[in-house]
Symmetry: C3
Subunit: 134 residues, 3 copies
């Protein structure tokens, strides 16, 4: 059954995908701007920062997306999608900060970390409840 | 309820996983062929191309798989799985092209990009319909 | 319907996420220990090994998580979650082995590979059954 909470989680997932899309375009743009020819992955700090933003977000999304969906199904309601929206916002802050300077990547990273921790806790709660037959 | 459309999406997902599997084997093979010892990630252009194919596909799959499944559930029918099959074909063309030469990676990249855009549009349509209670 | 088998798969997924979480912390720790400043991705073998463990696990999880969930839904029962648990154990062995020495990464890699192959076979079996209307 498609509940409203699941549709909100789906909408947040699509937002996250659009952000990855933009991050990929950002890497290609920096490759062009600084003349870093494929398959080279180094050559200019601004290109390397764009690449790190994307790679770190890929790694992070691998925790975020499963946790979002397990929380959405096992915990339910609108809370998982709300935490997911905070994750997306944290990743936007991370992108803007890291592109400005490596030291400025930490605020956004912290926001998205807290969102993932919240989603893992909601998931664990929901799974625990299901396994105990409640 | 497991519909036929969901089973098609599952079959396309397994095809994509087999392609990742092959890409991973290709990286290991190029590591051996050119004597690039782990954990080094540079050392020979052909090895670096094999690695970029795999990494770019990992990044791409993170958009593809969620979009495929959201489209399969929220939009429904066989169209999402058909777009998914085009994505897999685009990634095979990308693999063959990039291994031949970095400039030849663009046709396959374009095909898989269009498939992802199509899946995101189908997803957005399906989610919009669900949120408006239709 | 949330079956017990799906809840087991969810629990194994959360275990895998906690392992990624630790691997990310391990990369940050090695960056600090060896003074490798972001966005640099090379500079000390121990840092590079930590990074390779994380990246290889990200690539691997992209096969593991879809195969786990397709097997959990299309094949059913507790077998997919059991294979998933073996994957997590294989990845822990891989982490410990690779951090000790690159040559010691192979046992753990083999364990997790076999678990993924098992999950793909269970998935293919389950999808085949569904497509033949059984």
């Amino acid at each position: 059954m498609i509940t409203l909470g699941l549709s909100y989680a789906a909408a947040v997932t699509i937002l996250a995908l659009l952000l990855f899309f933009y991050m990929g375009i950002n890497v290609a743009r920096m490759r062009g701007k600084h003349g870093v020819k494929a398959p080279a992955m180094t050559g200019h700090p601004e290109f390397e920062r764009a690449l790190r933003v994307q790679m770190n977000t890929v790694e992070g999304a691998l925790m975020f997306l499963p946790a979002l969906w397990i929380a959405a199904i096992w915990f339910g309601g609108w809370l998982p999608a709300a935490a997911g929206l905070i994750w997306v916002i944290g990743r936007v802050v991370y992108l803007i900060g890291y592109m400005a300077a490596p030291e400025k990547r930490e605020a956004g990273f912290l926001i998205q970390s807290l969102a993932v921790v919240a989603l893992i806790l909601l998931s664990a709660w929901g799974i625990g409840r299901a396994l105990m037959g409640m």
